[in-house]
């Protein structure tokens, strides 16, 4: 006696049929993955790289030392500039000290 047809049979038959995938599917998937990973690498890349370098003790010490030396250098440049200005101001003040004609109020100076 023949068994009644199973309603699942046509569905199972359809599932076993292999569907043809698009020919450029795999390259397209990889391209999209690269695109997404590249974008995240660009944003976090610099900071994560810097963090990695600064987390190493020798580079951390080197970085802090360089910062201290840069601070000293800029301070020395500033002090030198101020000393030059101060020197020329003292030279001018010395002239005012020894020359009464220069010492008189410039606003009231004769034409």
């Amino acid at each position: 006696m023949p068994s009644p047809p199973d309603p699942l049979d046509p569905l199972l038959d359809r599932w076993t049929e292999s569907t043809e995938s698009a020919p450029n599917l795999a390259p397209e998937v990889w391209r999209r993955i690269d695109l997404i990973e590249g974008a995240s690498r660009e944003t976090a890349g610099f900071w994560s790289e810097l963090d990695a370098w600064l987390s190493r003790p020798p580079f951390a010490v080197l970085f802090v030392t360089c910062c201290a030396l840069l601070g000293l250098f800029l301070a020395e440049v500033r002090v030198n500039r101020l000393q030059r200005e101060h020197g020329s101001e003292l030279a001018h003040n010395y002239l005012l000290l020894i020359d009464p004609l220069l010492r008189a109020d410039p606003a009231a100076r004769l034409p």
């Binding site: 600064l54 987390s55 601070g71 010395y94 004609l101 010492r103 008189a104």
Partner: protein
């Protein structure tokens, strides 16, 4: 915060701190006294202690006279301003009075020049030739042309 960030902040703090401490220690001190100016001269001309003492003495001795002359010059400037004001407002000039003013002004200017020249020469005579050359270069700087009224 991660370790790299802490190191970055520490470096910046150390750099800024070093800068300000060094600057504060070496910052030139601004004083406008005769001692400060003469001390500057000592450093600039590399004067010995004996030279500096002698030059300081010369400056201290001439300072009251130079101050008095400076006061007289200021008075003459004020008097000239009053002349000029009168000329502008009334369009009249008292030529006799003005001639007297010019004569007085010329005499005071001459006294100023003589006093300054005496002081410079006396100070220069205490110096070595190289110091003297440098000193005369300094005092020749910034000289303003004399007023036409004093020529």
């Amino acid at each position: 915060m991660n370790r790299g960030g802490l190191v970055l902040l520490l470096g910046i703090a150390v750099g800024v701190g070093t800068h300000f401490v060094y600057f504060r220690v070496h910052e030139p001190v601004y004083t406008d006294t005769i001692d400060a100016q003469l001390s500057w001269m000592k450093g600039e001309l590399q004067l010995s202690d004996a030279q500096f003492a002698r030059i300081k003495e010369l400056h201290m001795a001439s300072n009251p006279r130079l101050r008095a002359l400076a006061t007289q010059v200021a008075q003459m400037e004020a008097e000239f301003a009053a002349f000029e004001n009168t000329r502008r407002t009334t369009d009249r000039v008292d030529f006799i009075e003005f001639a007297r003013f010019v004569e007085t002004r010329r005499a005071i200017s001459q006294q100023c020049l003589d006093s300054t020249r005496r002081l410079v020469l006396a100070a220069a005579s205490e110096m070595t030739p190289s110091q003297r050359e440098r000193y005369l270069g300094i005092v020749a700087l910034d000289k303003q042309p004399a007023s036409p009224l004093t020529n």
